[in-house]
Symmetry: D3
Subunit: 115 residues, 6 copies
Amino acid sequence: MTDSLADFNAFRSRMNDLIAGKSNLTINRFFALDSRAYDAGALGTKTKEMLGLVASLVLRCDDCITYHVVRSAEEGATDEEIFEVFAVGLVVGGSIVIPHLRRAVARLEEVRASR
Amino acid sequence: MTDSLADFNAFRSRMNDLIAGKSNLTINRFFALDSRAYDAGALGTKTKEMLGLVASLVLRCDDCITYHVVRSAEEGATDEEIFEVFAVGLVVGGSIVIPHLRRAVARLEEVRASR
Amino acid sequence: MTDSLADFNAFRSRMNDLIAGKSNLTINRFFALDSRAYDAGALGTKTKEMLGLVASLVLRCDDCITYHVVRSAEEGATDEEIFEVFAVGLVVGGSIVIPHLRRAVARLEEVRASR
Amino acid sequence: MTDSLADFNAFRSRMNDLIAGKSNLTINRFFALDSRAYDAGALGTKTKEMLGLVASLVLRCDDCITYHVVRSAEEGATDEEIFEVFAVGLVVGGSIVIPHLRRAVARLEEVRASR
Amino acid sequence: MTDSLADFNAFRSRMNDLIAGKSNLTINRFFALDSRAYDAGALGTKTKEMLGLVASLVLRCDDCITYHVVRSAEEGATDEEIFEVFAVGLVVGGSIVIPHLRRAVARLEEVRASR
Amino acid sequence: MTDSLADFNAFRSRMNDLIAGKSNLTINRFFALDSRAYDAGALGTKTKEMLGLVASLVLRCDDCITYHVVRSAEEGATDEEIFEVFAVGLVVGGSIVIPHLRRAVARLEEVRASR
């Protein structure tokens, strides 16, 4: 694990501002759409964040995993629930998911320790 | 859409039997593990099937999508809920998901028509 | 090659209508965003369609390739230009791109024959 | 399974000729490089074909799988050996590999029946 | 962002030399083919570098993105043009592209600052 | 290259213990299955490790590549053999494999230096 959660958030925030400032309409609309996609509807936000987490895990996107681990925990997902999300992702995506699972678990530890 | 759901199930069942008969221990254990991964635990089966569905969608595996659309519907997921799963998969996976989304929706229509 | 271009377009159009009718706001906004992403800006539409084509090729999405082959040809891309897009996609994406390249070339023949 | 092995080979051969005739130097050199990559060296051709097979399986490229199943069988790989290649691919790539595994096994049956 | 552009280039250069020295004919020919794939033809080099950039972005290969951001800028691509390439990649590849987009923008800043 | 092989192994070992301690049955069975998948059968362990290596290379999983480079070397694979595995992976997976190939070669150097 290279960066702490604080470093991750600082870089993320700085780059999001820089990207938004470039005024590319397609990119800015995509970011708006992305942030609304997890709002509660027929499914609650916790479920949607877990959907985002398993999708990020099988696509092996560490930063996306970090984001959805943090959000799932904020929405009240327990360790048991999050590990069941991890289990589905592992079976669907295979052993190449394992390195990302290790980093996801390290992030979850960091989230739990920071409360 | 090439095959009907009945054709899909017939081919799937015939090949699963053929594979099981080859007695490769790793393969047979993986199939057993796969079928148990969606059993209810801290998360219910409906939620787990929707996790499998979004993972299949972003990985763009049509047969996997078909399987989890059928199972999600069997577990009581409504069209609204399934479309919210599709929406998360579309935002996470981008426009390359769209052709698979079209086929997923056609499958869902087929499932609803066959009740 | 299973479907003709006419069949492809008919299925695409029918499913797009069905999806739009479900009124999932995230999905409908994504479709709107997708259709505007290739409008001329600092780069012309022909260049953007070729960008969409190479992205579809390396991601190995046959329906997306079909769409962007048709659109690139409509925007005036020559066979030589389209094959140079294919060449970049082949080197970046490797030999797994080849089956999709074969189908892309068959589509291009179909497009040229239908003029 | 849509096409027979004979249909697959006919389409493959026709499109390869069409592509070669376009005289794109990068594409033609890539095809030459691809066909030499499996020549015997420090590793024998059978081993290299099995490497190509597992790579095609985890990347979920049905046509590539068909090609390497045929070539592995021609080089003398037994069913037991090919299923061990499949097993590694399944564990590495996860359950999304299963639909491709089913089609791979159907192809292997077709190859064995055509001898 | 772990490494500076200078560190990236130094590691890249050192490993390329080491790989070339191993005299694997397939690998060395692939490297030669790769470096010629962006030469001007029916399409100019700037366009080809932008094709390489969008392909690298949707395949989420940070080092490839860095290489093509540098080369696109050297060929005269403006920030507006590069952001339109990013926009196509984002819509095609979805929100999992975002972390790579952030790093791509940081690289572009580094390139612009080093002129 | 961020971490040394020793750091990689320490993090890997610590996280594996932490994951095992969570007692998620699916995850723990998957880990057991993964570790048995490379046992000698109709194919020897060296061949299976090289299959795991090429699969990891085309899927661009650096940690998986590190693991299988180490294991292939332990099973007696020579540099020439490992570079032929790399060559197949490069042709199958394309130029996006190159950054992972560079890191794989750096790992191989580290393994050879540590004997």
